[in-house]
């Protein structure tokens, strides 16, 4: 279970929530409400206060690198440091993994500079999944995708959920929230409340 206790930072009122292991939680709310701040605070990318537990292990008790290997996060805007896609993956990406999100098997040889937003988004998702986290936070994972590709990505996420991955999904898409989510929160001006999509 992911447990937040009074997690706070500027722009985010103290937030407490519980998300059971293997479940998909959804956070919705208007732009600028603090969804991204919440995600960054959970993975400890910005200075914050409060406590976070994963399976009753305290975040404060382990190095931040170890914490981020347990809980991954794919931001809405992905970052790329090398020229070629494949150099961002520790292991070669399997062709069927690529096919699962509608990408051809030669995608790892593509130059990053030529990627479309939708391609970046899917590759960043695969990169985060390939790191093998126990839980993953996704910020608008299908915002730049057409309907068919979106369905494929959702199907992939569904399979990973069945395999035991825990998801925290940030989305504007109510239909998607209903399709994937089991637990729902709304965030407004940095305040989190429990509530359906």
């Amino acid at each position: 279970m992911l447990r937040l206790e009074h997690l706070a930072r500027p722009g985010l009122a103290p937030v407490s929530l519980k998300l059971p292991t293997g479940a998909c939680g959804v956070v919705m709310g208007p732009s600028g409400a603090g969804k991204t701040l919440l995600a960054r605070a959970i993975v400890d990318l910005d200075p914050n206060s409060g406590e976070v537990f994963w399976k009753e292990r305290s975040r404060a008790a382990m190095p931040a690198c170890q914490w981020r290997r347990l809980i991954g996060y794919a931001p809405a805007q992905s970052g790329w440091w090398a020229d070629v896609v494949g150099d961002h993956f520790l292991k070669p990406v399997a062709a069927d993994t690529l096919r699962a999100v509608n990408l051809p098997p030669d995608a790892p040889t593509w130059p990053v500079a030529r990627l479309s937003n939708g391609e970046k988004q899917r590759l960043a998702l695969l990169r985060a999944l390939a790191a093998g986290p126990e839980m993953l936070i996704l910020d608008e994972p299908t915002a730049a995708l057409d309907d068919e590709t979106k369905e494929r990505v959702e199907a992939l996420l569904q399979r990973r959920l069945e395999d035991g991955l825990t998801l925290l999904l940030i989305t504007h898409d109510k239909a998607q929230a209903r399709r994937l989510g089991r637990h729902f929160w709304r965030i407004d001006s940095g305040h989190l409340t429990e509530g359906g999509p």
Partner: protein, 267 residues
């Protein structure tokens, strides 16, 4: 130093300015509007070099360790000011003034004392005619290296934030996440001295070696001096840039392996 040295008169020096004078006349004739600039810069160079000639004459004849130290301190202060002024994205607070200059000075001073006491062994070891030119060359080069290296590194922190955080999010430590960016900054800072090493002897004769050869020193002796200087300079530049970049890395991240661009000065 044997008898090969040819003393120059002030008239010789003035005659050497003939070509620049002709170029200045040409710019007037062609209405390029550069004559005043050329004249001002030439006059400034004359004033600066004459002044430093007399200052060095005084320091050499005084031959006091304290006066040499004071002269070194003034040189270091000017170099430090350049580093501070030329940072495009400086660290916030006093770090801006401390970090770059400290990196430059620590490496430079260490190499200077090492070379003077163990290699040149002048009498006394801090004799100004060896200490000050050597210090000047070390400072000038490490100043350039540290400035370039810091600008490359802090620029990357600002521009490549998403990429760096993507690496942190995969569970890399702050040192591993920033390693490619530190490597690039080190390379940028060392480019001038690497170029100088590659070009020396083939494309250009280094200024100091040229000076020694003109002063009558046998070429192979001049080469030995030049090699000694180049090794010292390259080492000092590399150490200064590594120190400056890693100190910035340490300051611009924290113990929870977060990137902290908020510790750069706000625009």
């Amino acid at each position: 130093m044997n008898g090969g040295y040819i003393a120059l008169s002030y008239a010789d020096v003035a005659a050497a300015a003939l070509f620049l004078f002709v170029a200045g006349l040409l710019t007037v004739l062609l209405r390029l509007g550069l004559a005043t600039t050329i004249a001002l810069h030439a006059a400034r160079m004359v004033a600066q070099l004459l002044a430093i000639g007399f200052v060095l004459k005084f320091i050499f004849s005084a031959s006091s360790g304290w006066i040499t130290l004071a002269a070194g301190a003034v040189m270091a202060a000017f170099a430090a000011r350049e580093i501070v002024r030329r940072q495009e994205r400086p660290l916030a607070g006093l770090w801006r003034y401390g970090l770059g200059p400290a990196a430059m000075l620590a490496a430079g001073a260490l190499a200077l004392v090492f070379a003077l006491t163990l290699l040149l062994r002048a009498e006394p070891w801090h004799a100004p005619r060896y200490a000050l030119p050597l210090f000047g060359m070390l400072l000038g080069n490490s100043m350039t290296g540290v400035t370039l290296g810091l600008n490359a590194f802090t620029g990357a922190i600002v521009r490549e934030r998403d990429a760096i955080e993507a690496r942190l999010l995969l569970g890399m430590s702050r040192f591993r996440a920033l390693r490619p960016f530190a490597a690039r900054a080190l390379k940028t800072g060392m480019t001038p001295i690497l170029n100088a090493m590659a070009a020396s002897g083939v494309i250009s004769l280094p200024g100091m070696m040229t000076g020694q050869i003109l002063a009558g020193v046998p070429p192979v002796e001049a080469v030995k001096y030049q090699l000694l200087i180049m090794f010292l300079i390259a080492g000092v530049v590399a150490l200064g840039v590594i120190a400056a970049v890693y100190a910035s890395l340490w300051r611009l991240t924290d113990e929870r392996h977060r990137l902290r661009p908020d510790r750069l000065q706000a625009f």
